[in-house]
Symmetry: C2
Subunit: 300 residues, 2 copies
């Protein structure tokens, strides 16, 4: 049986992920469920967590370090945002009471920016992981996903950041719009992706019109689903890169996330002469949570 | 009891509308249902239509003139697109057989454009209505809706056109995205709308980022739902106007559609010095269908 020294948790709107960590910081086991914050009521948070991590608990209180929407206003307990500029690795967690005395929950706060108004919950922990691994990193951390973050890091601080809804737009258009008829299946045409990135990167104002051509190209010219999916992804990522240009132009860029998505962003930026470092999202999340755990134990 | 001389039908993806028309062209009665093409199988088309128009039928075959998605590949019968440039009022309808001999169905074809690839079904009939009422109209017909059309009319022809998915994006973002938490309710702040239109009209490349500020402004600065809804609408319409600039800059523009939406587009274009004519969508659809009926009866 696995007995965790402590437990790392990433709890977002649509997912719950946990890792059992040893005293030396090694991952002993991991588990995940679809019990995201968005689908649970207040009374269901603790049972959902215990269902996942119960096998790793013992009679002594086990520290649980959690980041993400778990600290939002509609989360388990609100962990108020810290404001940029700030060092993401120095956040003091909020410790809500739990009914089960076998866990000792620590929730990490998110980070906000006053103007332009922006917020993150979870990505600050990944950012702390990046900075911990490379304290001299001066550049941009791009975290593609449902809400892609572009984070300017300098002197171990988050200086500023911006969010683009690219992933959510892709999901909505693929699944719920008229384009759903065109983009079915798993195939993805990378050459069509490249052309579409170039199209909206150079003419981002055309996005609203370019999207409908995906439907029309299928009806009139027999465009394949693979090409349609590549075009939808490319148009949206190209438009995002146009918006984020001040964040990547002439900058050192590290992209962290799911490998397939990271590869698409790296490919798109490569066409602009930006050679990106890439990292897996889980690695970054764990690095940040390990750092938060170390801060707890070093406290007086 | 109403006995129609002929029946006008506008049958889209999500709606079915019909009008009983007298020999003199007057509207005797009208009816509508949610039996759009998108929710019906092939076998359900005729029963859905008959449910709506049955009270207006008599023993003699009544002509039914229909436009919209009823003529799409997945519609009742495919009415192949005519290609621009073309005179929208001169389309020859397709006449599918019906089981009920009391109706004589005529389905009007849509219009396509090869490059940039684009299609319309239904809007060509509204365009025919505009041209019939004003044969000298030389300018732009803007038909805002789920898929907004910008149509260049000259010498009684559709010269070119473009579609923007603005209405569908607004619906998806309002109802299914993280922004749904911010835009609830019926209130709509017109001043925030104006500011948002100006934002994406001048900097359309920022759209992907600007959308998320709607969420963040609510969380951080207590932005009202009315302001959030005005901002979402304004950002999307501003970005569309940026894309459609060649269609309205220095042009005569007529906007046709639902009155509240027409007013928003007219307000946005007014800020750019474009004073638009406006028309109700139903008036245009009926004008186009009346024209198609007249063509039938004048045929040799």
């Amino acid at each position: 049986m696995t007995r965790a020294d402590w437990i790392a948790v990433d709890w977002g709107t649509s997912h719950l992920r946990a890792w059992a960590i040893s005293a030396s910081g090694a991952v002993l086991d991991k588990a995940a469920s679809a019990d995201g914050m968005g689908g649970l009521s207040q009374a269901e948070f603790e049972p959902a967590l215990l269902r996942l991590i119960n096998p790793w608990l013992n009679d002594q209180p086990t520290p649980v370090i959690a980041c993400g929407m778990v600290g939002a206003k509609q989360g388990w307990v609100e962990a108020p945002y810290r404001t940029v500029p700030c060092k993401p690795g120095e956040a003091a967690p909020i410790m809500p009471a739990t009914r089960d005395s076998r866990i000792k929950l620590h929730i990490l706060p998110g980070v906000s920016q006053d103007s332009p108004a922006d917020v993150m919950r979870g990505e600050e922990t990944q950012t702390a992981g990046v900075i911990h691994e490379n304290p001299h990193f001066d550049g941009i951390l791009c975290l593609p996903g449902t809400h892609t973050k572009w984070i300017h890091i300098s002197a171990e601080e988050i200086v500023s950041f911006r969010t683009a809804m690219t992933g959510e737009l892709f999901a909505l258009l693929s699944q719920h719009s008229v384009l759903r008829h065109s983009v079915g299946g798993q195939e993805f045409d990378r050459e069509t992706f490249d052309v579409a990135v170039a199209e909206t990167l150079s003419r981002p104002e055309r996005l609203a019109q370019s999207l409908f051509t995906i439907r029309a190209e299928g009806l009139l010219h027999g465009q394949s689903n693979a090409a349609a999916k590549g075009r939808l992804s490319g148009l949206l990522i190209g438009a995002e890169l146009a918006a984020a240009r001040p964040y990547w132009l002439g900058q050192q860029v590290l992209i962290g996330g799911a490998p397939a998505l990271v590869a698409l962003y790296a490919r798109a930026l490569e066409t602009q002469g930006v050679h990106c470092l890439t990292r897996d999202a889980e690695t970054l999340t764990l690095a940040g949570l390990r750092l938060a755990h170390a801060k707890l134990t070093e406290a007086p």
